[in-house]
């Protein structure tokens, strides 16, 4: 065979590239690490260990010599042993047929580092074919379709070029070798036997690897004229007739655990194998080349549903389960987790929502409470002001009593002393005069005290000014609004038009009106909602020259027995009242020259009227 120039050039180029590889610098160091290692190379042995040793022994030897510090041992393995060895990691590299390689690649992650180059002039990716042969005189057998119901012989079910490639071709012709043939016989190696069986007519057709016929013909073992290739077509080189598409040649592959550095060294060594090297000659190949694409093998196996695609034959769900049960389980768990998660999230959302609702309610309650507290505070302030007024009045009364007691006490003592002295006749006229003068002085003192008090009560009159009672009533109603609101009482206002001003001090007048409103409100305590009403109105009695403010409630009215005591201090009908309101109010109104009247014919309820004289210009 003539060495091909482009192929040599390519090989040299590759070697150079390998030298320039980054990390090559560290190769020396790494090579040292490999020193003294014994590594196994597994080789698929179809035809017995001896033959395998003979074919592949020199190649392994070549590697041992070429890779420094590493010695390789050849391990001839059948298909089953090959899988076991790869699984157990007993080998570092394997040399096997494309079908087995694809399966191991799929199952154990072995990866090809070189592909066998059988001949210089033939592309290693289109090297393997099958030939389906029959005797030349069998006119009934022309095409692959004609194989139906015929007996066919092949070397082995697992043989790649010897059966599987042909099977693929038959399948394309809608022939299933297992059911559509009259007989399928596996005869084992060597394939020469198949040729013989076809020739002697013991089988209708035989499946052999491509180019075997031509080889046998060249060796003078058969006469090509006696046989024909069904569906025959020439191969790429035109040297052989084949029945099938072309598939790549055997690869050398490294196991997942084998170091990349070592794999690189091995690849470089293989690629650098000189022409006509002893190893190449023994192995009947011309050399090694960079690994080719094995996709065609994958496609074939998928089509045949064998090797890595064997699972495709089984019912889909079961296959899926058997192959992917871990993933399905994970997915199922994932789904379960997701369902649980969704449920949990829902739950959380519900819990959070109800919490929020509760918080909201609480907030509302707190706000209401605060409002109530504020309302209460306001009321308390009002009440406090009321109490302050009352206690001022009380203190005034108490102070007044004490002050009056002093002169009265003195007068009483002087008088009693005089009586006793007169009785015992031990008093002179001068003494008597003196004492009586003192008594008169004390009486005057008492009078002055009373005068002072009256002045105090009447003090406001000096500030008397023209006041619009409508305005005073309006302001008083506004002041009372909060309390009325709290107690659910409706206050209606009816104001007379064109009402003349009265003589008053606004604040005091307001106090009186509020006082009457509060009394009216107290009278409504515990009544039905429709009776919680106070009518406030102003009137102008032209004839009398007075204006009138009516405060009318719809309560139970005034107890006839209590009526005469209404304006007395400390008279009260309510449990917590001081009983000073009306009496004080009356004092104030009287200091304005007016009066408070009770109208008891306002059934139901009571009507209190503040009557004030119309303001006259001084």
């Amino acid at each position: 065979m003539k060495p091909s120039q482009p192929s040599d050039l390519f090989r040299t180029l590759l070697l150079c590239l390998a030298m320039l590889w980054p990390g090559t610098g560290g190769a020396v160091h790494e090579t040292r690490e490999l020193a003294g290692q014994h590594l196994n190379i597994g080789v698929l042995a179809f035809r017995g260990e001896q033959r395998t040793e003979k074919i592949w022994g020199p190649t392994v030897e070549y590697l041992s010599l070429a890779v420094p510090g590493v010695s390789f041992d050849l391990k001839p393995l059948d298909l089953e042993q090959m899988e076991q060895a790869v699984q157990a990691g007993q080998v570092s590299f394997i040399i096997t047929n494309p079908g087995n390689y694809v399966e191991l690649e799929y199952r154990y992650g072995v990866s090809r580092i070189a592909t066998l180059q059988r001949y210089h002039h033939q592309s290693p990716s289109r090297r393997i074919h099958s030939a389906i042969i029959a005797r030349a005189d069998r006119t009934d057998l022309q095409n692959i379709d004609d194989l139906k119901n015929r007996s066919v012989m092949a070397v082995s079910e697992n043989a790649f070029g010897g059966f599987q490639v042909a099977w693929g071709e038959m399948k394309q012709h809608a022939i299933d070798p297992n059911s559509d043939l009259a007989e399928l016989v596996f005869a084992g190696f060597p394939q020469d036997n198949i040729v013989k069986s076809v020739l002697d007519g013991s089988v209708d057709a035989g499946i052999i690897r491509g180019c075997l016929l031509e080889q046998m013909d060249r060796a003078g073992l058969i006469d090509m004229a006696d046989l024909k290739v069904l569906g025959g077509r020439p191969n790429d080189t035109g040297e052989c007739r084949v029945s099938t598409a072309a598939y790549p040649d055997w690869p050398l592959a490294k196991l997942g655990g084998t170091s990349d550095h070592l794999a690189k060294l091995v690849t470089m060594t293989l690629l650098a194998m000189p022409d006509n090297h002893r190893a190449a000659l023994a192995g009947e190949y011309s050399g090694w080349t960079i690994p080719v694409e094995y996709q065609a093998v994958h496609d074939l196996f998928r089509e045949l549903q064998i090797g890595p695609y064997e699972w495709m034959r089984r019912p889909t769900l079961l296959i899926l389960w058997s192959r992917y049960w871990q993933w399905i389980l994970v997915a199922l768990l994932g789904v379960l987790w997701w369902i649980w998660h969704v449920y949990r999230v829902e739950q959380l959302v519900r819990t959070r929502t109800s919490q929020l609702t509760r918080a909201n309610l609480r907030l509302q309650e707190e706000m209401e409470e605060r409002q109530q507290t504020e309302q209460k505070l306001l009321t308390q302030q009002n009440e406090l002001a009321h109490v302050a007024r009352v206690s001022t009045a009380g203190e005034l009364a108490s102070g007044l009593a004490h002050e009056l007691n002093q002169p009265l006490s003195a007068i009483s003592s002087y008088a009693q002393g005089c009586i006793w002295r007169l009785e015992s006749g031990r008093i002179t006229q001068d003494e008597l005069r003196d004492v009586i003068q003192r008594m008169a002085a004390e009486a005057e003192r008492a009078g002055a005290i009373i005068q002072r008090l009256r002045g105090f009560l009447r003090k406001e009159q000096t500030h008397c000014k023209a006041v619009d009672i409508n305005q005073a009533v309006g302001e008083a109603t506004d002041l009372f609004a909060a309390e009325a609101n709290r107690r659910g009482i409706r206050v209606t206002l009816t104001l007379a038009k064109a009402i003349p001003p009265v003589c008053s001090e606004t604040i005091q007048l307001q106090q009186v009106i509020i006082n009457l409103l509060r009394n009216a409100a107290d009278a409504l305590n515990g009544l039905a909602a429709e009776r919680l009403r106070i009518e406030l109105s102003t009137h102008y009695a032209v004839a009398e020259g007075v204006v009138r403010i009516d405060v009318r409630d719809f309560g139970p009215g005034i107890d006839p027995q209590g009526k005469s005591h209404l304006f007395e201090p400390f008279f009260t009908t309510t449990a917590d009242g001081m009983g000073l309101g009306l009496s004080l109010s009356q004092s104030i109104v009287e200091s304005h020259g007016g009066t408070i009247r009770v109208i008891d014919n306002a059934h139901p309820g009571a009507c209190f009227s503040i009557v004030l004289p119309v303001y006259k210009e001084p």
């Binding site: 108490s398 009265l408 003195a410 007068i411 009483s412 003592s413 008088a415 009693q416 004492v435």
Partner: protein, 206 residues
């Protein structure tokens, strides 16, 4: 027994009250002096004297109640009548429980006041004489030697000299000497006197 002038002390910040009460009391021959504050009265105060205090509760400075408490604390023999204004009943009750003799509301009822002053004066007189007597007896007892006190205890218990001698482990003659000294120092005319004096001290102790 030394005699103290009986006196009514009027303490009130009101001029006319002081002068009218003095006028009233003097009309029935009760001597009275007056002070315009508790502070003015304190220098003149003799805790052990016969007298009555008429005290206004409302005064600037030290109040009537404070003065009352102070005097009760000192064990004064003076009696106190409180004058209160209108509506001071709780204060009056407190005054009574604090040791006041009585309380009278203003305006003062003359006859009632005089009656209460007389009663108070009587009580003060008794308290005073009791106190004088007690001091006197105590002074005499202090003159006794420890042995004489023992002998006196036994005499008061009604034992004859012979028994006392046996009790104290001395001869009868010695007891007779002790007895004579006891009677002399205690200024007792008879055993009965001695028993009374013993009673006075005991009452005080009780």
């Amino acid at each position: 027994m030394p005699t103290e002038p009986e006196m009514v002390h009027i303490i009130d910040d009101d001029d006319s009250i002081r002068s009218s009460l003095t006028w009233l009391l003097e009309a029935v021959d009760i001597p009275a002096t007056s002070y315009d504050s508790a502070e003015a009265f304190l220098p003149a105060l003799k805790p052990d004297s016969i007298g009555v205090l008429i005290l206004d509760v409302r005064m600037p400075g030290m109040s009537g109640m404070q003065l009352l408490e102070r005097m009760v604390q000192q064990g004064s023999t003076l009696q106190i009548i409180i004058l209160t204004g209108h509506g001071d009943v709780p204060m009056a009750v407190r005054a009574m429980s604090n040791g006041a003799f009585y309380f009278i509301q203003k305006p003062v009822n003359g006859p009632q006041l005089v009656e209460k002053v007389r009663e108070a004066m009587l009580k003060s007189r008794i308290a005073y004489s009791q106190k004088i007597r007690l001091d006197d007896v105590r002074g005499r007892v202090e003159r006794l030697t420890p042995r004489e006190r023992e002998v006196m205890e036994l005499i008061v218990s009604g034992h004859a000299n012979k028994v006392i001698a046996a009790e104290l482990g001395v001869v009868e003659r010695t007891v007779e000497v002790h007895r004579h000294r006891v009677m002399e120092k205690m200024e007792a005319a008879s055993v009965a006197d001695l028993v009374i004096m013993q009673q006075i001290i005991k009452q005080e102790v009780d």
